[in-house]
Structures are given as C-alpha cells and as structure tokens.
C-alpha cells in the first residue's frame, strides 16, 4: 500500500492533548482522515521543536502553553515548523490564526469555528450558514452494544438522561427530576460522572457504574429516548451516537450542534420544562418513536457512519 502523496496539511490544535474533550475527538478524526489525502503535521502545545509520537502522528511542540491561550510568544519561528504551501487546519484563537495567516508563502487556512481570520470553516454539523464546507465526521459505534444490554440494569425502554454534571448525590439533575415526576411509571436512567442511576416514581431505585464507552453505548441503544442536557457545542457526539443506534434524541434548543442535528433528523428540542415533558410524551408513542428513530439513524449513518465518504468529503473540501 503506497503512502498518499497529496498536498500536505498542517493541523494546529489547542485541544489535541485534551483527549476527553469533544474538540480533540473532532480534530483527531479530521487529522486521521486527512492522512488518506497526504502527509499531516500536527502542531500543539509542548516544548518548541520537540517531536513526540502520538498514534499515527508525530506531534510537534510549538513552545507555547496552551493553558494560557493561543498567542504565539515573541520570536516563535512558525515558518520553520510549517511546511511551505501546506494547508492549515486551525483549532486556535484568532490571534494565533492571524500569526499563521501572516506566514510567508501560500497557505490555505481552514478552521472549525467562525471568526478565525480568513479561514474557510469546515462544518462537521449541517447548519444553515453560507460559506461553510460540510464534511461531517466518522463517529464510530459498536453495533454489538445494541445486542447486549448493560449488565447493571434489567430495564430497557427507559428515558436516558445524559447529565450536565450538576446533580448532587441522591438528587437527579433538573431534567431528570421533571421527567420522573411527570411520568410516574417511566424508568429514567441518569448518566452522570460515570454512574448510571435508575429513577422511577420520583425515587432512586439503583445505581451502577459506566466503566467504558461501550457501557454508555449499551445504555444509549436500549433507551426509548435520549435526553442530552449538555451536548457538546461542536459535534454533540452522544447525540450522533444515539441516532446511529436508532434512539431518538431530545436536546436543548439553545445547543448549537445538537439542535442542528434535531432540525436535520427530526429530533426534538426543548426550551423549557413544558416542552421537555411534551417531547418525552411524544416519544412514549410507539409510532412517533419509530419514525424519529428511522429518520435519525438514516441521517446519522449517512453523515457520520461512513468513513470512506467522510474521507472523500474532507479531501474535496481541502482541495476545493
């Protein structure tokens, strides 16, 4: 198998080392897909000019502490580490982007967010905005998770609430409290801080640990509906995973990425308690749930379930 010999891409990422963050997941997926097009150089925080292996990449330090922001220190020789003419995917603040944009030579700039200089925005979520290049992503799930339910619970068909982490010991997050109070006979499973708690009729019925991503997928895939109270702003990864398993999602109307998924795939959004309860009530109807499930799965599999299609979309975007 020959190495791809296309144009080089330089990924400048502030989130690269924050492995548990959604942004790191997105940037790493984009960088990985870009290796099918041509050589990829990754620049991130760390001692200047040092190179460190990280999976398929050699990560080069920029000599800046990313915890303090993304402003390159005076005297940083960016041109020395960035190949001439390479396209750049910038996951950094506008100041750093400006420094990159001022480099000599011809560099095409791409970014994940708006406002990063003159960079073209690569969209991982379909949004009704002009000037974005929708590339999607590959969000893998293990289909076997749908075969075997989570060991800790015998229930299936529950309302799954992915918490924003605001709950306290013995107290569910607000959304779960409203749902278990509004639907007395419904099983409500709350996932918070790697623990899944089962609530029914306003009372805690049991807890179990969520030890792995597969555990989470098991919980997601056997839920009637997934309420994500704090979806990630860039991708809303758990929403995508839920849709890939055919589990309808209910998300805050103010969550940018998740609301976009909902708009595109027939998911439900809520802007207040009453709308949240209405949305859960709708999903308790088997016909409605079935329709939402089919639409969500079709949408998510098309945009996030096909790695080859994702690589092609990314290549076309970078070469456009």
């Amino acid at each position: 198998m020959s190495e791809p010999s296309g144009p080089a891409l330089c990924v400048v990422s502030g989130a690269w080392r924050q492995r548990s963050s959604e942004r790191a997941f997105v940037v790493r997926a984009l960088a990985g897909a870009a290796t099918r097009r041509g050589p990829v150089t990754v620049l991130t925080s760390g001692p200047a000019r040092t190179s460190e292996p990280d999976g398929a990449f050699d990560v080069i330090g920029l000599g800046v502490d990313l915890e303090d922001g993304w402003v390159p220190p005076q005297g940083t020789d960016l041109a020395a580490v960035i190949p001439d003419g390479a396209a750049m995917l910038i996951d950094a603040g506008p100041d750093f982007a400006a420094a990159l944009g001022a480099l000599p030579g011809s560099h095409r700039l791409f970014a994940l967010d708006r406002g990063v200089g003159s960079a073209t925005v690569l969209g991982v979520v379909p949004e009704p905005e002009d000037g974005r290049l929708l590339v999607g992503l590959h969000v893998p799930v293990n289909p076997l998770a749908a075969v075997h339910r989570h060991n800790g619970f015998g229930q299936v068909g529950y309302v799954l609430v992915l918490s924003d982490g605001s709950g306290e010991a013995g107290v569910p997050p607000d959304a779960a409290a409203w749902i278990t109070a509004g639907f007395y006979d419904a099983d409500v499973v709350v996932v918070e801080r790697a623990v899944a708690s089962l609530w029914r009729g306003r009372a805690l019925r049991g807890e179990t640990s969520v030890d792995s991503r597969t555990d989470l997928w098991r919980l997601i895939s056997h839920a009637r509906v997934c309420v994500d109270t704090a979806p990630g702003p860039l991708l809303a990864r758990e929403c995508v995973e839920a849709m890939r398993f055919g589990t309808p999602v209910i998300v805050p109307a103010t969550a940018p990425a998740a609301a976009s998924h909902a708009r595109a795939a027939g998911g439900l959004t809520y802007a207040g308690t009453a709308e949240l309860l209405d949305a859960v009530a709708r999903c308790r109807d088997d016909d409605v749930r079935s329709e939402l499930s089919a639409r969500g799965r079709e949408y998510a599999d098309a945009l996030y379930g096909d790695p080859a299609a994702f690589c092609t979309r990314l290549r076309e975007a970078l070469d456009s």
Binding site: G201, A203, T273, L276, L277
Partner: protein, 150 residues
C-alpha cells in the same frame, strides 16, 4: 417551620424588575418509593399457625389425611371440650385461640395497610403527575407572557 421559611428564599418567585427569572426549582424526590409492594401473605395460612392446629388435632386423634369436614368437627369438639380436660389443655386451647385471633387481626391490618399503600401510590402518581404538568404549563405561560409584554 417558620424559621426554615425565613432562612430559605423562595427562588421560584417572579422578579419585580426586568431581571431574568430564577431557575425553576425541580420537583422534589421521594426518599422511598411510593409504589405499593406486593400484598403480605395471610398469616392464618402461615406454616407455623397451620402446624399448631395440626399438632393440636393429632393430640386428639385426627390424622393429617383426615377430610376437612372432619378437621372442622374435631376443632370444634376440642374447643368445646377444653374446659373439661384439665388446666394445661385449657391453657393450650386458649393460647391457640389467641394465636388465631391475633393472626386474624394481623391479616385485617395487612389488608388495610395494602389499601393505604395503594392509595398512597395512586395519590403520588396522579397528584404528582398533575402538579408537575401544571407547574410546567404555568412556567410556559409565564415565559409567553414575558415575551408578549413590552
């Protein structure tokens, strides 16, 4: 009670000024499930109570395989004859009657408890659900009013 009310503000109160409304206080959770557990088994059918009667019957020559009608006859006969068979038998017969009476009362209390538990569950279900929906609707109306008020 008053002290607690004084210490704790009412976060659901609508602000006088144009400040954004406070976070909606979610419904309180129950420390124990309100769901009615399965009914208790009748204690009169308990193995030990039944065994007591069987032992008593055996003392008076009735085997375990005797037909029920015979059991009933023997039990009645024994009870009627207790005052005439000596103080121990009298005491024992009285004890068995007391056990019977207590078992019957326990079963009646268990039935009443079951009824109360079912009522509690129904109240928690219907009132809890209705109140939650009502609060959510009030919240929605409040938001719509705020939007429509210049």
């Amino acid at each position: 009670m008053v002290a607690a009310m004084a210490r704790e503000p009412v976060p659901d109160m609508r602000p006088v000024s144009g400040a954004p409304p406070a976070r909606e206080v979610p419904p309180k959770m129950l420390r124990r499930p309100a769901q009615a557990p399965p009914p208790l088994d009748p204690i009169r059918e308990d193995e030990q109570v039944v065994g007591l009667h069987e032992a008593w019957a055996r003392l008076h020559g009735v085997s375990e395989g005797s037909p029920p009608a015979q059991w009933q006859r023997v039990r009645g006969k024994v009870r009627r004859s207790l005052p005439f068979v000596g103080p121990e038998h009298d005491l024992l017969g009285g004890l068995i009657r007391a056990v019977d009476a207590l078992a019957q009362r326990c079963d009646e209390l268990a039935a009443r408890l079951q009824a109360n538990e079912e009522l509690t569950e129904d109240v928690a279900d219907s009132f809890g659900t209705d109140l939650t929906q009502l609060r959510a609707d009030v919240s929605r109306v409040r938001v719509e009013l705020d939007r429509s008020t210049p």
